[in-house]
Amino acid sequence: MISKSDREQFAFLAFHVFFRYSTKPIVAVTSALTGDGRGYVGAGLARALAMSGRSTVLIEVSGNSETGMTTLQTYSVNPSFDSMRMEDRAVADARETRLALREINARFDVLVIVLDDLFSTSMNLELLSVSSCVVVTVAMGRRADQADLRLRDFLTALEKPIAAVVPTLKSVQSMTLPALTEATPLGASRTMPTRIAALAQSRPGS
């Protein structure tokens, strides 16, 4: 459940992201470490963008180290109705990834991509390269890590602007952590719709 104050925070964040970058932005949500709440932020941001009247899609990236395939689990975020899980797309290389994103982007105003652990799969890098901007989540209270510096330097090298850094508090981290760390598509498909539905329920008037 997203609190009222969090909804206001996401609305503020969405305002900055949407109006600052391209008209059909691809927003990548990532973090330096696991458990920094990027899933929660991605879902909240997608909902805020959807509530502003843009058709928004939320894409969760899950890599499988055994098969080498990367699954793009897509959700159509509709603030008026429950979010709908769309088809999962398995991509094997950069070309397929670009094609899949181009196709999705043609149908939606905004793409919010919740990346897997940054260096776990090469698809993350490909997705970053095609994104308009990056939102980085940081778990509030943890110590600064070398991974933070690597992420910052990597984004600088890619010339990808960090649109915003979103600190997340512990309650949110514990809530989103299982949903985004489950590597299996099944687990992810089980948790994400639940959360999106919860987001839909929490919208004003619902």
């Binding site: 925070q9 996401f10 900055h16 940081v138 509030m140 850094v165 997340t168």
Partner: protein, 451 residues
């Protein structure tokens, strides 16, 4: 600024206990120190005077002071002054423990300088305040008189050396005069002996003069004796009774003859008889007179008296001659000794001349030392600090003062604790604030979620 406020908020949230603990510690510490630092305060008043204008005239221009006004509080905390204070109040601890109990206030444009000393009891506070004022005054006078001190020390050293030289000369003179007692004298080494000789010569001359007088008296008496001889003969003959009878008979017969011759003419028949008788009586009288004067003239009173006087005069002459002889003998001896002790006499004279010169130098040095000490005293009396009001009572520290000290300690410690908390928060590696995250990633933070 906003970030600073956030850091402050988090610092208080995370490390507020440090500031609180520091504040409490500071409160307790300040209370203890305020108790330990003394509860009695005594104050002496010192007037800053203008040494060029005379005693106790307040200053208008601090340039005349030997110590600058603004330096006086620091001077009161100096080791020199504080050690004097410690000595005066018999304080055996470290000087650093004494310094916080001293307070000297100098007001702009004021000639008065209150000196405050705090102690655990009233007597020590009063003694400390007065001792501190005295120490300051003493130090100021020391500064004022320091330029005379070296001169005085130098003169004292010269006087000591001169005194040693005089003692050495005295010792040498004493040694020589002990070996040659006749040379002893106040001044010149040869003078005593020579003076003795001269004295003896004078006495001899006196004796000679006396001898001459006595001799003249004796000669006069001798002449008197000679001239007195006829008188002595008369006295001798007059003292002879037979002669006297004969002389009386002759006088009677002569009177009778004169009467006969007056009454009668030359033709009186008995006249030749009478004349013959007279011639016989005259012859008899002359014979008797010759016999009478043939005796010793000493039978004559006049002669014997004069003779006695002449004998006394002769005795005096002989006595004078004996005295003169004795003087001559002593003169001879002294002259011989003078000739034999010429070397020692010269050395002693040299030593005495040196002694006189050193004595004069000593007197000169003593005069200079006296002048220098007088100048120093004058300079000291014109010092730039004068104690005009000595402390006689001490006031007990009020509870409000202790509270003020405690509150100040609490505030200081609290601020220190807050500073520590701020630093801990600002420089900890934790990403517990947006500003740290902004600084780490160089990107804005528009939202913080999870509240």
């Amino acid at each position: 600024m906003t970030m600073d406020i956030e850091i402050w908020k988090r610092a208080l949230r995370q490390h507020g206990w440090i500031a609180a603990a520091a504040g409490i510690f500071g409160l307790v510490f300040a209370l203890l120190m305020s108790r330990k630092g003394g509860t009695y305060f005594a104050e002496s008043q010192v007037l800053l005077v203008n040494p060029t204008a005379g005693q106790f005239q307040a200053i208008n221009d601090t340039a005349h002071l030997s110590v600058r006004t603004e330096d006086l509080p620091a001077l009161a905390q100096s080791t020199s002054v504080v050690s004097n204070l410690a000595r005066a109040i018999h304080f055996n601890g470290r000087l650093s423990a004494l310094r916080p109990r001293i307070r000297v206030r100098v007001a702009e444009g004021s000639s008065m300088m209150p000196i405050t000393f705090s102690a655990a009891n009233e007597r020590e506070a009063v003694a400390g305040a007065n001792a501190l004022a005295d120490a300051l005054t003493s130090y100021d006078r020391k500064v004022t008189t320091s330029r005379f001190d070296r001169l005085v020390d130098d003169l004292r050293g010269q006087i000591r050396r001169s005194s040693r030289t005089l003692a050495d000369l005295d010792h040498q003179i004493a040694s020589i005069t002990a070996e040659h007692p006749l040379l002893s004298g106040p001044k010149d080494g040869g003078a005593p002996l020579t003076s003795r000789i001269i004295d003896l010569e004078g006495k001899r001359d006196d004796a000679n003069a006396l001898l001459q007088g006595d001799q003249e008296v004796a000669n006069g008496l001798a002449a008197l004796i000679n001239s007195t001889r006829p008188l002595a003969n008369e006295e001798l003959s007059d003292s002879d009774q037979v002669y006297s009878q004969l002389k009386a008979q002759y006088a009677a017969d002569a009177a009778h003859l004169a009467f006969i011759q007056k009454q009668y003419s030359g033709r009186y028949p008995g006249l030749p008889e009478l004349l013959h008788q007279q011639r016989n009586e005259i012859a008899q009288l002359n014979r008797r007179r010759a016999k009478a004067i043939s005796r010793s003239p000493l039978f004559s009173k006049t002669y014997s008296g004069i003779y006695t006087q002449k004998a006394g005069a002769d005795a005096k002459v002989a006595s004078d001659q004996a005295v003169i002889t004795a003087y001559n003998q002593r003169l001879h001896e002294q002259q011989q000794q003078l000739l034999s002790s010429t070397g020692e006499s010269t050395g002693l004279a040299e030593l005495r001349r040196e002694h006189d010169a050193e004595d004069a130098a000593y007197a000169l040095l003593a005069n200079r030392l006296t002048s220098a000490i007088a100048d120093r005293s004058e300079a000291a009396s014109l010092g730039s600090i004068a104690v005009i009001d000595r402390a006689d009572t001490a006031s007990r520290a009020t509870w409000s003062t202790s509270k003020l000290i405690a509150f100040a300690g609490f505030l200081c410690a609290l601020f220190i604790g807050l500073g520590i908390a701020y630093l801990l928060e600002a420089y900890s590696g934790r990403l517990d604030g947006p500003e740290k995250i902004i600084k780490l990633y160089g990107a804005p933070v528009y939202a913080t979620v999870g509240k």
